[in-house]
């Protein structure tokens, strides 16, 4: 126990500041003006892997590490879509996951935002569309923000999430 406490005390706080939102990532024109009003500074995220290679998941996990410290920003990953404000989707959507993804989206309360992650989520990536793959996320559910990259870095993911809930678009 002493060793545990000593390790915690000697490290201190290692969290780093978050990135700014980036309007170039926004693909939807729907205005998220109300989002901040409704959510305040807290955001619940439901993540769905709709067919990814699991590379994007590795970088999403990194958001929970002490350096990116996403919970310190008031955001957390939740288990149920009923609790979620934002849906974070990875992968080309496999045909076998299309139904589960749509049901997850429909189970979320309004207002809701969708961020499609990674080259595959944005445009189907190297897998594209075929007998088993529906391609990009927008082919199956409406998407607000896309974050390209293979996989995108944790900072890019955080930027995409912040863009989805920022009110900059409503001012423009």
């Amino acid at each position: 126990m002493l060793k545990t406490l000593r390790t915690i005390a000697s490290l201190g706080i290692v969290s780093e500041p978050p990135p700014d939102p980036n309007e170039s990532l926004r693909v939807s024109t729907a205005l998220p003006a109300k989002i901040r009003e409704v959510l305040g500074r807290s955001l619940c995220i439901r993540q769905v892997d709709a067919g990814s290679c699991n590379g994007c998941e590795l970088e999403i996990h990194a958001l929970n590490n002490p350096l990116y410290n996403i919970e310190g920003l008031g955001m957390r990953f939740v288990a149920s879509p009923r609790h979620a404000d934002l849906l974070l989707v990875t992968g080309p959507v496999s045909r076998h996951m299309a139904l589960a993804l749509r049901r997850t989206y429909e189970a979320m309360p309004d207002p809701k935002r969708v961020v499609a992650l990674g080259d595959c989520g944005c445009d189907g990536g190297i897998f594209g569309e075929n007998y088993a793959s529906c391609g990009r996320v927008a082919n199956v559910i409406p998407v607000d923000v896309i974050v390209p990259g293979c996989p995108p870095s944790p900072l890019r993911i955080l930027q995409g999430i912040l863009t989805a809930v920022s009110s900059a678009a409503s001012r423009a």
Partner: protein, 524 residues
């Protein structure tokens, strides 16, 4: 009377060497010899690694089975199927892992074994039963709108009795995990039976390979399972370079090994943190995820990539390591190793963590042997296979990697094995950085590549990764006739169903994480 080992050697001695991985050979067999050989190999303790089929245009269908023999040798049996509607002898009685692979062969190639389990495995509702995506000319797309896809009905095995009920979980899980379905039959909290259903992330990888130029397949290989990008892309390149044939520069081989050990370090650090967290010890996640981030940032500074999805290319490496970068990586590896040693004592002395780890999800060495448990999970259950040690490919012979082996087969053993392998990989990284040969990091792939079948076989962090690559030959722009990638998750997923029996449902996430199997690498 010949010993089983001597009988198995007779099959090996008839086989012809394959290009690519060292000690790989192929043998064409009749249906009778297919069964005889499988029986002899099973008796000699060989393990079925992969089973797949090729259905090339204008040529005979072939079912192939790859076996790992003593000393890390790989024997590939090829069974020609002039009439694909004829049933071939399944290997499920000798090798339980064969069953799901045989079902997948039917889903994709339309060739059926005599396995009594005739349920589809990778095919759900995305394409019709009589369409075979890997047959020549079969199903580039099928005309079902995504919006119209309906759930199909899969015949799970029902457990009945007083107080037995079912818990269906997935495909969407509660955390940031890949999708799959788990059907628990339980009494009270205790699990009587777990049945897995996978295939949710099947995205047509094998068909996609056939549309790619031979020289670009490594990019797709790296994206079969993102956590094993180095292992798969190296296996693909090993097969391709064997067909060419060409010599890869020594510096490139050392850099590849650096990438492979780095991948092992990343995944072990991630798992050690997640396992602490699943045991209710959030401190572990915070510490190990911080260490992992430190390593990823050092990699990014040194090689320009956090995850090495684009590091390994035909002919060598797309990344190189300067002297300054090598110093940074070596210092980081030393720091990781010493910090992980301290954290290990904290895990070992934490009563709550020990209580959750010890005895959970146990797979005895005897059961592991019978079911064919392999790789990291196998080595935690006394299965002493590690290709880096058994049959070192370049540059591993120069590195003398030490085999890590434990026998308890529970979560605690799989955690301890990760701690051991983490130390060994940090040592190997330091050794690789200190001894990096001078010279180019990449050579040109020859302008022509020979036709034929080649094998890539690499010990990834999870276990053996196999790539079987077939081409009609290439004079610069040719294609892939067939590429079958195999992740050892195929072997280990069915064993997880046994590991959970008698445990309580709340321990499942912990036990599942201790195996950490790939969904994408399995579903393809």
């Amino acid at each position: 009377m010949a010993t089983p080992a001597e009988v198995a050697e007779r099959w090996w001695s008839q086989a012809a060497a394959l290009p690519g991985s060292p000690s790989a050979a192929a043998l064409a067999v009749s249906a009778v010899a297919w069964q005889d050989a499988a029986r002899d190999l099973a008796a000699a303790g060989a393990q079925l690694l992969a089973l797949w089929a090729s259905s090339p245009l204008g040529s005979t269908h072939r079912v192939r089975a790859a076996f790992l023999l003593q000393g890390g040798r790989l024997l590939v049996l090829a069974l020609p199927m002039p009439d694909p509607d004829v049933v071939y002898p399944g290997l499920q009685q000798l090798f339980p892992a064969a069953s799901r692979m045989q079902r997948a062969v039917h889903d994709l190639n339309g060739i059926r074994s005599d396995d009594p389990d005739r349920r589809p495995w990778l095919r759900h509702a995305a394409w019709p039963e009589d369409v075979y995506p890997l047959r020549a000319g079969g199903a580039a797309t099928v005309g079902i709108e995504p919006a119209l896809l309906e759930p199909d009905h899969y015949a799970f095995v029902r457990v009945t009795g007083d107080g037995v009920h079912e818990i269906p979980v997935g495909p969407v899980h509660a955390g940031i995990i890949e999708p799959g379905h788990f059907r628990f039959s339980i009494v009270g909290e205790k699990v009587l039976r777990l049945e897995e259903r996978l295939g949710y992330v099947h995205k047509g990888i094998e068909q996609r390979f056939q549309q790619l130029p031979l020289r670009e397949g490594h990019r797709l290989a790296a994206r079969i399972s993102g956590d094993s990008a180095v292992a798969f892309s190296w296996a693909y390149c090993q097969a391709l370079e064997g067909l060419a044939p060409m010599d890869v520069p020594p510096r490139a081989l050392w850099l590849r090994a650096l990438c492979l050990e780095s991948e092992r370090i990343q995944n072990h650090l991630g798992d050690l943190g997640a396992l602490g967290n699943d045991a209710g010890f959030a401190f572990g996640l915070a510490q190990f995820s911080r260490l992992k981030e430190e390593w990823l940032r050092a990699l990014h500074a040194a090689l320009g990539q956090r995850y090495l999805l684009d590091a390994i290319v035909p002919g060598g490496c797309a990344v190189d390591c300067s002297a300054a970068a090598a110093a940074l990586l070596a210092a980081t590896a030393r720091h990781l190793a010493s910090t992980a040693r301290e954290l290990r004592t904290i895990y070992d002395e934490h009563a709550g963590v020990r209580d959750r780890f010890i005895g959970a999800g146990q797979v005895s060495p005897a059961l592991a042997q019978r079911l064919g448990l392999i790789g990291l999970a196998g080595r935690a259950s006394g299965q002493d296979r590690d290709l880096r040690v058994d049959r070192p490919w370049a540059p591993y012979a120069d590195l003398a990697p030490v085999r890590c082996l434990l026998h308890d087969g529970d979560v605690a053993a799989r955690v301890a094995l990760r701690f051991d392998e983490l130390q060994e990989s940090c040592r190997l990284v330091e050794r690789l950085l200190a001894g990096l040969p001078v010279g180019p990091a990449r050579a040109e792939l020859p302008s022509t590549v020979a036709a034929g079948l080649a094998i890539g076989l690499i010990e990834g962090w999870r276990g053996p990764v196999l790539v079987a690559l077939e081409t009609d030959g290439d004079d610069g722009g040719g294609g892939i006739r067939r590429c079958h990638p195999h992740d050892c998750s195929w072997q280990n997923w069915p064993v997880l169903e046994h590991a959970i029996i008698g445990n309580i449902v709340p321990d499942f996430p912990l036990i599942n994480k201790s195996f950490n199997l790939s969904y994408s690498g399995h579903d393809l």
